[in-house]
Symmetry: C2
Subunit: 410 residues, 2 copies
């Protein structure tokens, strides 16, 4: 590959805009929930572009679509891609960028007459968002054999219909095999950061080291409802106070653990929630994330110990329930380093960072070396119609993807 080879940023941005018209909603956003008619229309458009570019397109039994560009040799492809389903009020970039940038890389290679040693593949995986059918990342989970096909097909969505029914309805119940037989040489995913770090710190490219492990805990605190005027402080069993103590502790914990530890109390509800009544019940959630499983466990241990201690001191009952738990995923260090050095070579400010959100790349990482390239999200906004990444940053990310795919494909 020639060193001066670059993607066509305008062509890529034009395709992002075109795909953004499918399921467009007010404010510049997109609603293409997985396996809806809008998703079908988006799929048809992108699969059509794949075919126009001469890719060999396959659709598997869970509706994942893969377009392969032949290499000089046969064997497992170097794969890129992402997803094109969106949340209900999503943006144009989340997922879509990764798929269309993959197509653009191939178009660039076609234009320049470059033939790679290994095949290149671009994929879009079914139902990454999980907004209509749980779990999220369903297509990639089935692709790598971590979620049984039958279970995924039987999943009932928020409107009462199954994945299987919807795949059949939109014509994307394909014949390509799923499961552990799938072989991929390496997987690279370009994605918008969906967080504020790159923009705030002036970086164009993020070399994603891994995906944070997630621990969601719901605490239910049961105290005693009392008159705010007549009940002395020493006689209170204030469920709201214990909730507030846990919330402030979560922040201290994140500070003390440092690194990539984050802790969020997003939801907190008091009962009876009246000015002059000591709350007898509080329910709050704590969202802990870390790229390091040992540290995440340490954070959980300390949080649970603190919650038990403060509830005990206040004479408040404590129940705790795990709402979600995922271990962190580390991307292949060799690939992360390559993203860094390629970005630097192209003159783009680059920093390492973790991904705080889940992505298909973390699922592909269980069958092959995988990594991700992030480009900035304006104001960190995502899953929102105001999601935006500048064409300049998109082009930069596309060029890092181009070079990395070429290096990996030889």
């Amino acid at each position: 590959m020639r060193d001066d080879l670059r993607i066509n940023g305008e062509r890529l941005s034009a395709r992002i805009a075109r795909l953004g018209q499918v399921g467009a909603i007010a404010g510049g956003g997109v609603a293409r929930l997985a396996l809806t008619d809008q998703d079908k229309e988006g799929r048809d458009l992108v699969a059509g572009w794949m075919r126009e570019q001469g890719l060999a397109v396959t659709v598997d039994a869970i509706g994942n679509v893969v377009g392969v560009r032949r290499g000089k040799e046969a064997g497992p492809p170097v794969m890129t891609g992402s997803h094109i389903d969106t949340v209900r009020t999503g943006g144009r970039y989340d997922g879509n960028l990764g798929v269309l940038a993959g197509l653009e890389v191939m178009a660039t290679l076609d234009d320049a007459g470059v033939e790679t040693r290994r095949p290149l593949a671009v994929a879009f995986f079914t139902n990454e968002e999980g907004s209509r059918f749980q779990p999220d990342m369903m297509g990639s989970l089935v692709y790598v054999g971590r979620l049984p096909l039958e279970k995924a097909l039987a999943t009932v969505g928020i409107d009462g219909s199954t994945v299987e029914e919807n795949l059949a309805r939109i014509g994307y119940a394909g014949g390509a095999p799923v499961g552990q037989g799938n072989r991929v040489h390496a997987y690279v995913e370009l994605h918008v950061e969906q967080g504020p770090v790159l923009e705030a710190e002036g970086f164009t490219i993020g070399a994603v080291e891994g995906v944070q492990g997630i621990s969601w805990t719901e605490f239910t605190l049961t105290g005693q409802s009392n008159h705010a005027g007549t009940t002395p402080m020493r006689m209170r069993h204030d469920a709201g106070l214990v909730a507030a103590e846990i919330a402030t502790f979560a922040r201290r914990l994140a500070k003390e653990l440092g690194g990539h530890q984050v802790a969020t109390v997003g939801a907190l509800t008091l009962s009876p929630n009246l000015v002059n009544v000591v709350p007898n019940r509080a329910v709050l959630t704590v969202d802990l994330r870390n790229t390091d499983e040992a540290r995440l466990k340490e954070a959980e241990r300390r949080l649970f110990a603190f919650a038990a201690e403060v509830a005990g001191a206040e004479g408040v009952g404590l129940e705790r329930r795990a709402l979600a738990r995922f271990e962190p995923v580390a991307f292949a260090p060799e690939l992360v380093s390559r993203v860094e050095s390629i970005a630097r070579g192209l003159g783009h400010p680059v920093r390492r960072l973790p991904s705080g959100a889940g992505h298909d790349a973390q699922i592909l990482a269980s069958i092959c070396p995988a990594c991700m390239i992030f480009v900035p999200s304006a104001r960190g906004v995502s899953h929102n119609v105001e999601e935006f990444t500048s064409p300049v940053d998109i082009e930069a990310g596309g060029n890092v993807l181009l070079r990395l795919l070429c290096e990996l494909a030889g």
Copy 2:
């Protein structure tokens, strides 16, 4: 008065039970919202008892009912009483006890043929609870001239009708004058504690030193909604965290100020209130109470300073709104001491304590020496159908009231 004179506890408890049948609701409670048909029925019953006992009954322009028992001399009466309106799901004791105990004291004096020097009066004041018409303690406020009659009459209730219309409808728009011309020698109110202190500490009688001043503040915090995974701690503007910091500070503040300072965060609402989104908005209330105005002001000052500091540090906007503010009321020290000594003389364990709730006595305190006698509330429960005070404690309170009224009336 003979030292061995005692009220008839059974007669008093029977009247409490009888009045509790008017507006009775499931669970043993009572719903007699001010100036409803149920209130009229209760008023008719109690005013009838007053007349049966030969009291001179007057009804004033705001519906306060006063029954006077002649003394050897004319002049301002020694007054006792309370209210007979209830909250929507109230108990049988709150207010009613004070009125019926006053009647019982007079019946006891009648039975024993005791004539006091000063007249004795028993009153029930209109709309003490404030559940249907705001403000609460309306009748006593008008009685002492602190709330203009016309303003009170024009008050529109939760169902859209006025106080004036309802007084006329139930036949309690009386002709007796209201305002500063009313003269009372002293006012004593027997009431259930509505808090847990007496029962928990094994006291039968509370000598109420005063009524806590009340400061209600609503804080509205405006931060930034962000992804719980992708937003580093240092970039957050977490409105929920600031709310939790304020809530835990309120508890520390009450502990540090000590004495009768109480602080309660009863209401706290987050937006969007989702597990994985940093809250962009939090609204919370802080209820501060103290019997000492200077200390209450100090508590407010420190709370507001802390809230501003912690919001500033997090980059979160802070608005604060006073929802209510009442200065503390101190009862006449001489009367508080008499309650103590009388209770001791009768062999009842007694302690001084403040009232955390508002009472007509605090309003009467602006025109004459006033005090209150508390008897225990089981488990501190009040404004609840499960409100309960044992007949033994009721009798004890009634006897303290008997003796104090006799001493004051001479």
